[in-house]
């Protein structure tokens, strides 16, 4: 194994530019004659726009133009789309109102886009926006997930009566009810999954440009999937034909899902650039990120798990209301349905499951995929139920899991997924060893002696990622296929460019993808360039989310490399006058079996391009191959996270004193990078469990957590060091055996933490985030009920 090959913790190639300040994020880029946009946003959750007077604003210094929804409509542009159609129980498609780029006669959430001011400077655009006189007729708003479908609630869209977008179900209702009837014990929990605001550190930004001479549009934007953005903007919104629109996502400062989606701002910038005849730049202020980036989670559920007298699971029924916000975002409909209900079997042999999900509208920002997307909500639910069942039935939480683990593969769950492999016992065992489970009671006693409450909580999770087989997602309502593309270009001097449809915004693809190629071709990683994020360079790609870039993106590279090797062997065979079958290739050297004849990689590369004496039609010059890889199944990373907390009963402050994560990600290309992904995921999970909460004032719909003063981002002193371990069962569904690692931390950790907090407090449930105030209040009410 080479020092830079698969399995090595190679230091990242991309780091040099970031540590020296030479990264190029969208806001770092400036175009000649650039202008600036500022978006006037709705201050109301729900209002009718009776009139808008732009005269004074138009006359303000530096203002070039002001655009409203009317201008967009006049140009015949479509609204923003949701690329996944979910159907209700009665077979009818989800009910979606128009999602206009700029508001027409109504605004539907605080932060909704009312007008776009374009001026010579950003300050001028922002100042002028204050001179726009909007006559709003304020209307009642419906804000709360649990009650938005109640009779009499304010309507978000006329097309969706009762604010119901869809009522979807999955599984077997009759079998589940029978199982629950026969159960010796039923655990019922009402759980909410708190609303999160993604907060990638780089705010969203866009620069739209139009070249009058060629009719070509260029959009620089903070995107996780620039090709999907181009497709949506051309095919659905109609900004420009696909071949006349170039979308570039340069260095992107984190995404976590929030930069998958196609938003109003970048759409308006590229559209209006042609009208202004100059480039238009927009960069979000952080408050705009809070108001208008798609949020995550926001479920309320009631779940019932039925067990036999020995603690064996018999059936699970789940009823969930999922807040979709005011409009359907790019993939929002799929998140609380096919990315959620399909994971409710967890790691367990659960014979009967029935899940019902109402996707509901509210006058709040759109809700879409955020790290984990549906799978954290499913995992939270099942792992809270399992832990609660163990407590109520006096079974050790470890034992109840062992009793119910799936052990034979493939395993067909009652909710679509077919698990193709795994070893749940192995990751549990390793995690127990790392946390020293046997020593826990002594540690608890020691904490008690110092006046603290100690608790331990488990989460044995599974997720489905490597999104996704195109046929499968197509049959479930996706408007796209979820394959990935790769092109490998070998240059005459032997160095290599790999063009990938995946997009790196922190994941380190420039290193890990190069490791794969280096491992296969024996070329040093410094001679391999990974090209991504530009629709003019990469032909097409589906982008990076759903932990798909390894399992799907790298598999596409493997297939392209297979073709490269086959072509190279043909060239070598010709040059060496040998049969193709006799050509061997190892560590970058070609040889002819049974002879001492060899040829180095660089020599082959040059020969492929000089092409002297190639027999025309049988052997083309050049060495460049591409592949589209469509996975045959989802991948199923799984593992065990265990959290140990210590709570100060005087203050309600929870400290995580021990956090162990053991994950089975299949093949790992770069352990250092994978560990980093797990750290970051757990931090976001701890954020959800203890710190973060997106809160709207329930009547007015004002966002109360619209800045870092109000929304608690995890800081360094909120978090512990993490203790990580890995087990390995290779995924049988892709050539590298990879499963994906980007989301596991955020999926697995919240229930482990809440299970630990409830264990420490001796209470049945506590809402996330378990802030000091909530923990303290829980302790007081527990005291009172004990006294009573």
């Amino acid at each position: 194994m080479s020092e830079s090959g698969i399995g090595q913790s190679v230091k990242r190639k991309e780091d040099f530019r970031f540590i020296t300040g030479a990264g190029r994020y969208t806001d770092d880029i400036n175009q000649p004659r650039q202008t600036y946009a500022y978006f006037l946003r709705s201050p109301h959750a729900h209002a009718r726009i009776n009139d808008m007077n732009l005269d004074e604003a138009r006359a303000a210094p530096g203002v070039l133009n002001i655009f409203t929804g009317e201008d967009v409509a006049k140009d015949g542009l479509g609204g923003l789309i949701c690329g996944w159609t979910v159907h209700s129980k009665d077979g009818s498609p989800m009910k979606a109102g128009l999602h206009p780029i700029l508001a027409l006669d109504r605004v539907r959430y605080v932060g909704d886009h009312v007008a776009m001011v374009v001026a010579e400077t950003y300050a001028q655009a922002k100042n002028a926006s204050e001179l726009i006189d909007v006559d709003y007729e304020e209307l009642p708003a419906s804000v709360v997930t649990a009650t938005t479908t109640d009779k009499g609630s304010a309507q978000v869209h006329d097309e969706a009566p009762g604010n119901l977008c869809y009522d979807w179900e999955l599984g077997n209702p009759a079998e589940t009810e029978t199982a629950l009837k026969e159960a010796a014990h039923i655990v019922t929990l009402d759980l909410s999954n708190n609303r999160l605001i993604p907060n990638a550190m780089e705010p969203r930004a866009a620069i739209g440009d139009y070249d009058k001479g060629t009719g070509n549009y260029t959009l620089h934007t903070t995107s996780q999937n620039p090709h999907v953005a181009r497709l949506v903007l051309s095919a659905f919104v109609g900004v420009a034909p696909e071949h006349k629109l170039r979308v570039i996502a340069p260095d992107v400062g984190g995404g976590f899902g929030s930069k998958i989606f196609i938003y109003a701002e970048e759409t308006a910038c590229v559209w209006a650039a042609a009208k202004i005849g100059r480039p238009i730049k927009w960069t979000a202020e952080r408050i705009e990120s809070f108001l208008s980036d798609a949020h995550g989670r926001d479920h309320v559920s009631t779940a019932r798990l039925g067990l036999d007298p020995d603690g064996k699971f018999l059936g699970l029924h789940v009823k969930t209301k999922a807040n979709l916000g005011a409009y359907l975002s790019t993939f929002s409909a799929s998140v609380p349905t096919y990315l959620y209900g399909t994971l409710l079997s967890g790691q367990y042999d659960l014979p009967a499951i029935h899940v019902e999900v109402d996707g509901v509208y509210t006058h709040t920002a759109p809700v879409d995929a955020y790290r984990g997307a549906g799978r954290p909500e499913a995992t939270y639910l099942i792992e809270r139920l399992v832990e609660t069942a163990a407590r109520e039935m006096n079974i050790d939480p470890v034992d109840i899991r062992r009793k119910n683990f799936i052990r034979a593969f493939p395993h067909q769950t009652p909710v679509i997924m077919n698990y193709d492999g795994g070893d749940y016992e192995a990751s549990l065992d390793k995690a127990l060893e790392l946390i020293d489970y046997e020593g826990f009671s002594a540690r608890r006693t020691a904490s008690e002696a110092s006046g603290k409450l100690r608790g331990i909580g488990f989460s044995t999770y599974i997720e489905a990622c490597g999104l996704a087989p195109s046929q499968a997602v197509g049959s479930l309502g996706a408007g796209v296929g979820l394959w990935e593309s790769a092109e490998v270009r070998v240059n005459p001097t032997g160095n290599i460019e790999v063009l990938t449809g995946s997009h790196s915004h922190g994941q380190g693809h420039e290193t890990t993808f190069a490791q794969l190629v280096s491992d296969r071709l024996g070329v040093p990683i410094d001679d391999i360039e990974i090209v991504h994020g530009d629709t003019d360079k990469v032909q097409f790609g589906m982008g990076t989310y759903g932990s798909r870039s390894g399992a799907v993106g790298m598999s596409a590279i493997v297939h392209a490399l297979d073709k490269i090797e086959a072509k190279a062997k043909k060239v070598v065979a010709h040059l060496m006058e040998a049969a193709v079958e006799d050509i061997r290739f190892e560590d970058g050297i070609f040889s002819v079996a049974g002879t001492d004849k060899t040829m180095a990689w660089a020599e082959l590369a040059l020969a492929a391009y000089t092409a002297h004496g190639f027999p025309g039609s049988e052997l083309e010059p050049g060495l460049k191959e591409s592949a589209f890889y469509d996975p045959t199944n989802f991948t199923f990373p799984a593992g065990c996270h265990i959290c140990e907390v210590e709570i100060d009963p005087e203050t309600g402050v929870t400290r995580i004193v021990n956090f162990v994560a053991v994950d089975d990600f299949g093949t790992i290309i770069n352990p250092m990078i994978v560990e980093g992904q797990v750290h970051g995921g757990i931090a976001q999970g701890i954020g959800q469990a203890l710190l973060e909460n997106g809160v709207y004032e329930p009547d007015s719909g004002q966002l109360l957590t619209g800045s870092y003063m109000d929304y608690t981002m995890p800081r360094a002193d909120d978090l512990p060091n993490f203790s990580l371990g890995f087990t390995k069962t290779e995924s049988p569904s892709n050539p590298l055996g990879m499963k994906g690692c980007g989301e596991a931390g955020a999926i697995a950790s919240p229930p482990a933490i809440i299970n630990a907090v409830t264990d420490a407090l001796g209470v049945r449930t506590i809402d996330m985030p378990a802030t000091p105030a909530r923990v303290w209040a829980a302790l007081q009410s527990a005291k009172q009920s004990n006294a009573a």
Binding site: K11, R12, E14, D15, F16, R17, F18, I19, T20, G21, A22, G23, R24, Y25, D27, D28, A123, N199, A200, M201, E202, P203, D251, V252, G253, G254, F256, E285, R286, I287, H505, G506, Q507, G508, M672, I673, E675, G676, H679, G680, G681, I682, A683, Q684, S707, Y708, M709, M713, P714, R715, A716, D717, L719, N721, F722, G745
Partner: protein, 153 residues
């Protein structure tokens, strides 16, 4: 307009700016030093940390005019020629960055932190990072990088 003059990364620079221009805007827009980032509008995230007269400062909390006559170092001025600063090296060696957006501010904070604390421990590093937010790393490897750089200093 106000005339400002200061030394940035060893070079004397002068410009006429609007009085309300923040130091970070001056660095990014006038000088093209885009390594210093803006991640929030409430002086919380620390992506914009630079050194002003040797001290770590959030350049979004300072007007350019307030830096009149000051010596400013940004992340672009940290390495000496091809020689990376030990803290830059430690961030790379310890995988202390992912998307890289918070990194310049983290590094500038860390350099200052190490200078002020001859013997850093983990608790101090975590406390001192209160003003720098990272969404990618969970801070685990940032803390590790700073401790490693402190040890080597």
């Amino acid at each position: 307009m106000t005339t400002v003059s200061m030394t940035v990364n060893g070079q004397t620079v002068n410009a006429d700016v609007e009085p309300r221009t923040l130091l970070v805007q001056y660095l990014r827009e006038n000088l093209g030093l885009t390594g210093t980032h803006v991640g929030c509008d409430t002086s919380q995230c620390g992506a914009c940390v630079v050194h002003v007269d040797g001290k770590a400062v959030k350049s979004c909390t300072l007007l350019a005019a307030q830096a009149e006559g000051a010596t400013v170092t940004t992340v672009e001025g940290l390495a000496e020629g091809d020689q990376l600063h030990p803290v830059q090296r430690a961030f790379k060696e310890n995988h202390g960055l992912q998307c890289g957006f918070c990194t310049p501010g983290m590094i500038m904070t860390a350099v200052d932190m190490i200078k002020r604390n001859p013997s850093l421990d983990e608790e101090t590093v975590r406390r001192e990072l209160e003003g720098n937010i990272c969404r990618c790393t969970g801070y685990h490897n940032i803390v590790k990088a700073i401790l490693a750089a402190a040890q080597a200093a």
